[in-house]
């Protein structure tokens, strides 16, 4: 007795084959629509990042003599009622619309993810209380909630800069709406993974809560969450444009695609090009995100594997 070591005599066999992520990545690359969408999204993001360098004119520079001109060689997409260059405004709009959508998705993912993970992992009484609160928020129609939060942030005097104020209001409103659904999904996923044998095994080996969450649960729910996120971004782009369209979002001279569409709507009859281009870019970006999301889902969501 006593000389036997606990280490196994054979070395640990490393399974041959690709990791789930690499496998998924290859599946994603095979999906042509997804790849094209991905390239398009990257281009739009680059356009947003380098808005200053790319746009031919400053976005709020009026050219009064050239107001409301249709697309021509000087102003590729025409000008608005104050003679501001449409192309420049759309490029700047990309900056605003995309950053609002991406930031809110990240904020709601952080809040919803932590909330859902705690609720699902701890379980019991805490879970039912936390989920009841989520259910109540879920029962308020999205737009009503959006408007209430937006108006609250408009009224509270925190920032002097009107653009910053409007921006923070939109971010808050969209995040309040967005985290609820993410919390539900994350909780559901955590509940599912929590019952898995490998989590139980880790428990039996003496692993503690935080370790299990970080090491086992998180990597296993990442796939569905990434997929959800890719659908969350276009829906936030849409909500931002909704809010701006009804005049509760950003206001001119600042520019987002919703602001531009709203501007164009007022002169729909005489100058349809004003609403046409912002609408077109909105449509294309949302379409690209949805196609990319479909590709991601097919590639990374294990439940969908093997199906068309």
């Amino acid at each position: 007795m006593g000389t036997r070591t606990t280490t196994p005599t054979t070395s640990i066999i490393k399974p041959k084959g690709k990791s789930l992520w690499i496998e998924g990545y290859h599946r994603l690359l095979k999906n042509k629509a997804s790849v094209v969408s991905m390239v398009f999204i990257v281009l739009v993001c680059l356009m947003a990042i380098f808005a200053e360098e790319l746009s031919p004119y400053p976005f709020d520079e009026p050219h009064v003599d050239d107001a409301l001109v249709p697309p021509n060689s000087t102003y590729w997409l025409g000008t608005d009622s104050l003679g501001r260059d449409m192309l420049s405004r759309i490029i700047y709009g990309a900056k605003m619309s995309m950053s609002v959508a991406i930031y809110t998705s990240i904020i709601s993912l952080l809040i919803g993810g932590i909330y859902g993970a705690v609720s699902g992992y701890v379980g019991g009484k805490l879970d039912s209380i936390m989920m009841r609160f989520v259910d109540i928020l879920y029962a308020i129609p999205t737009l009503v909630l959006l408007i209430l939060v937006k108006v609250f942030f408009d009224a509270v005097e925190i920032f002097d800069d009107p653009e910053l104020k409007a921006l923070v209001g939109i971010l808050a409103a969209l995040s309040v709406v967005g985290w609820v659904m993410l919390a539900r999904v994350v909780r559901g996923q955590v509940l599912q993974v929590k019952q898995m044998a490998y989590v139980e095994a880790s428990h039996a080996l003496g692993a503690r809560g935080i370790w299990i969450v970080v090491k086992h649960i998180f990597p296993n729910i990442l796939g569905p969450i990434v997929v959800l996120l890719s659908y969350q971004i276009p829906s936030n782009i849409l909500f931002e444009s909704f809010l701006s369209f009804i005049g509760l979002g950003l206001q001119p001279p600042y520019s987002s695609w919703g602001v531009l569409a709203s501007d164009g709507w007022r002169s729909l009859r005489s100058f349809p090009h004003l609403i046409l281009y912002p609408s077109l870019i909105l449509f294309l970006v949302i379409l690209a995100f949805n196609l990319f999301g479909d590709g991601l889902r097919d590639a990374f969501d294990p439940k969908m594997r093997g199906k068309q």
Partner: protein, 352 residues
């Protein structure tokens, strides 16, 4: 019983779609038949306890929403009677006394809840002396019609499109339908509305671009509101039909020698409607949101205009009333959807 309820309901929707003002008797008959159906269903399935529990939960939810909204509105700086044109202090004081605004918040809250329990939503602050319930009741019909028509159109287009796409899987029909559907999902309703108005009203002068005065006025707003959800439903239906088509009992049905269409309609469609039904909750929420913008664009005299005006006017009772009404519609719709699950799929047990 279910058929009668459905029949009467469809009949009245059709009548109102054709522009007829529905007689009050018919509306009440609708309400009674629908309630009667759900009452009978509850009784026959012995799910009375479940339904009661859900109704109580709905009450609690609405109570919490009322409290949250009430709190939020009182935290916002600036009152309803702070205007650019300042009122004389005495006038302002007497107005505030009339609406109990001079009392501590808990007294205001208590009085509001007391009124709410008696079905009294209070009076508008902005349109002096106008009860909120009357203001809502006046603007409810166009919003309700717009919502119901769009809902019906969504299902009438979405489900067959999804079914046909799945039945002709990987054919040109499938690809066309799905390209259409994914484009529809990416189209904001205001874009659809703008394009429709531009083409049908301005370019071809076929249909009116605004107001809500009869069937021709309904077409454009309903299409604009229904396009996106119809596309979502088509995608859902296709996915779930594809799943069902590959299941064992369909193979059995094929092996038995049943006809193609019998299998498709009797077995596949019926079993693949549940995910579509699941989407009804979010769908109704989405229609409520969407109808707001569509009402704004088509100048439809519905509830939407109150929502934004009430918020900018700080018209507390109106905001609270609108929030509660929208939430109540959503909560009740979700309950009905849950009941319908077990009606369509008896395997789903409602008592938990």
């Amino acid at each position: 019983m279910g058929g009668l309820a459905l029949g009467l309901f469809i009949f009245s929707v059709l009548l109102s779609f054709l522009g007829y003002e529905l007689p009050t008797a018919l509306i009440w008959a609708d309400v009674i038949v629908v309630l009667g159906f759900f009452g009978y269903y509850t009784y026959s399935q012995k799910i009375g306890a479940y339904v009661t529990k859900r109704l109580l939960e709905a009450g609690v939810t609405l109570f919490v929403i009322a409290t949250l909204t009430f709190g939020l509105l009182r935290v916002i700086p600036g009152g309803p009677f702070d205007e650019e044109k300042a009122l004389p202090p005495e006038v302002k004081a007497s107005i505030e006394a009339k609406y109990n605004l001079d009392k501590p918040i808990y007294v205001q809250y208590g009085k509001y809840l007391l009124g709410l329990a008696q079905g009294d939503l209070g009076e508008s602050y902005k349109y002096l002396g106008r009860p909120v319930s009357v203001m809502i009741a006046e603007t409810l019909p166009p919003t309700f019609q717009l919502g119901i028509f769009s809902l019906i159109i969504c299902y009438l287009i979405g489900i067959p499109a999804g079914l046909i796409a799945a039945a002709r899987h990987n054919s040109w029909v499938d690809s066309t339908a799905m390209v259409g559907a994914i484009s529809g999902v990416a189209l904001p309703s205001f874009v659809v509305a703008a394009v429709l108005i531009l083409l049908f009203s301005f370019e071809w002068s076929l249909l009116p671009a605004a107001l809500w005065d009869g069937p021709t006025y309904y077409i454009l707003p309903v299409i604009a509101l229904g396009t996106r959800p119809a596309a979502v439903i088509a995608r859902l239906t296709r996915a779930s039909v594809l799943e069902v088509i590959h299941s064992d009992y369909i193979r059995t049905a094929k092996a038995k020698g049943l006809g193609y269409w019998t299998i498709l309609f009797k077995h596949v469609l019926k079993n693949s409607l549940i995910p579509t039904l699941t989407f009804s909750g979010p769908l109704i929420s989405g229609l409520l949101t969407g109808s707001f913008i569509i009402e704004f664009m088509f100048a439809i005299p519905g509830m939407g205009k109150h929502l934004i005006q009430s918020v900018t006017n700080r018209d507390y009772p109106l905001i609270l009333g609108m929030t509660l009404l929208y939430s109540a519609i959503l909560v009740l719709a979700n309950l009905i959807v849950d009941l319908l699950y077990s009606y369509f799929d008896p395997r789903i047990k409602l008592d938990k």
